[in-house]
């Protein structure tokens, strides 16, 4: 049995055809501003030197810059930095040129409803603990982000709540899931992946197994309100990092690897700073993250999706890849709906669900 045989199975062929319509997406990342109300433990943005530049705040300059990106073939934008919602005129300028993409936000300020990007709202824990992981600029405990996020994005189809599991907040997801889904929203998962130079107690070690089981429980309990798959859970909580398991194709990892594995993204992906500069050493969706501990959801979206050839050894493996890419598109592309899960938890897995 091989790839061609798997496509003879109707449900696999139909899912593959659905995904293939998005193979043309070419993404890059853009830090929009360095203004941010918060300083979060493990935030990759305020690490290294990339934020120590002068923000370009001119909407016309952004428009021209994005037109150049469009000519370069980029048709999907990842808008980050900290905090993109605080630069609304820049978001508007970018949206006017490339109208497909995702904004990563702490959700404390609502992004104008006319900006029809997917919006990833970060959640770090329950209301009792989130303020400890995410502090204000002066070091005081942060605000109750979840309540503000739910208020700002009520009845907003752009929103996806992204819960970042760390070693200490696994059980806290129960309350967050209840509140997010009660409000009619969807949630997906991230796994805390520390920056290279950060000494933190939040990075999961032995807790990865517990996180895996919690993810499976959440999918079972909340159904399609949780945009995830058993295969996502498996690869993001494995002992090996994503880079170790699949070989990261981002330019940053490729440039440093002794056995690089290139793919399309290796040639086109750039991570721009707020002054439009970029360096191959940080051309990655999570610059300054330690590749040896990278289980980040954004990184995985590119790493696993680009490794079809690593998922054709058996049908279950191919099913896992189909679910992974289906999840990726549902999380990242506004309007894309996740289909029924095809991969069975425990199929070829290190643990039974």
């Amino acid at each position: 049995m091989g790839f061609v045989d798997y496509l003879a199975v109707p449900e696999l062929e139909s899912r593959y055809a659905k995904l293939k319509k998005y193979f043309h997406l070419k993404e890059s990342a853009y830090d929009v501003t360095s203004l941010c109300q918060l300083r979060c433990e493990g935030c990759y943005y305020f690490q290294g030197d990339k934020y120590k530049v002068t923000d370009n705040t001119d909407a016309g300059a952004w428009r021209s810059f994005m037109e150049g990106e469009q000519r370069r073939g980029i048709n999907f934008v990842n808008l980050a930095g900290a905090e993109p919602a605080l630069a609304p005129h820049v978001l508007e300028a970018i949206f006017g040129v490339i109208p497909t993409g995702t904004v990563f936000t702490n959700g404390l300020k609502r992004i104008d409803r006319d900006i029809r990007y997917r919006i990833h709202i970060s959640v770090w824990g329950d209301p009792g603990h989130d303020p400890l992981y995410r502090r204000r600029l002066g070091g005081q405990a942060g605000p109750n982000c979840l309540q503000a996020q739910l208020d700002n994005y009520r009845d907003d189809d752009r929103a996806v709540f992204v819960y970042t599991f760390n070693r200490a907040n696994i059980a806290q997801v129960d309350e967050v899931l209840n509140r997010v889904t009660d409000a009619g929203h969807v949630m997906t998962f991230n796994v805390f992946s520390p920056p290279v130079s950060l000494n933190t107690a939040l990075a999961p070690g032995d807790e990865l197994e517990q996180i895996y089981r919690k993810m499976l429980w959440a999918m079972d309990r909340y159904g399609d309100r949780v945009i995830y798959s058993a295969y996502n859970a498996k690869v993001h909580t494995a002992a090996e990092s994503l880079h170790a398991a699949f070989g990261c194709p981002y330019p940053r990892a490729n440039a440093r690897s002794t056995s690089p594995r290139a793919s399309g993204i290796s040639r086109t992906f750039r991570s721009y700073r707020t002054d439009f500069s970029h360096q191959i050493e940080t051309d990655c969706c999570v610059p300054d993250t330690d590749c040896a501990q990278c289980r980040h959801y954004a990184a995985g979206s590119a790493i696993v999706s680009s490794r079809l050839q690593d998922h054709v050894d058996c049908e279950e493996s191919f099913r896992g890849w189909l679910d992974y890419v289906d999840t990726y598109l549902a999380v990242w592309v506004l309007g894309y709906r996740q289909g029924p899960r095809l991969y069975r938890a425990g199929g070829g897995s290190r643990v039974d669900a």
């Binding site: 091989g2 293939k20 319509k21 193979f23 290139a262």
Partner: protein, 95 residues
């Protein structure tokens, strides 16, 4: 299998890989030469090239390393790759 047979087989596998995509396949059929770069000259997306790669492996029953396939990058290059002793695809009845 002759080189020409293999070339035709590769063409068929390429068209299969592109069938569900947003390509002008008739125009690509006219433009395709042995030395056409799949991405630069024909504009084929990287994930479709990966599908072409896995289709070749699946149908011909062999393994081609990513780096070798990436380096080949043209139908002519892939034909040359398949003639290597390690793959042995053309070893019998080669013309």
């Amino acid at each position: 299998m002759s080189i020409e047979d293999t070339r035709q087989q590769l063409h068929q596998l390429l068209w299969s890989a592109l069938a569900a995509g947003d390509y002008d396949v008739p125009a690509l059929r006219s433009a395709l030469r042995d030395d056409s770069h799949l991405s630069r000259d024909l504009g084929i997306e990287s994930l479709d090239i990966i599908e072409f790669h896995v289709r070749i492996q699946s149908v011909l029953g062999l393994v081609i390393q990513d780096s070798d396939f990436e380096q080949a990058s043209t139908i002519g290059g892939i034909l040359a790759l398949l003639q290597r002793p390690a793959h042995g695809h053309l070893a019998v009845g080669e013309s």
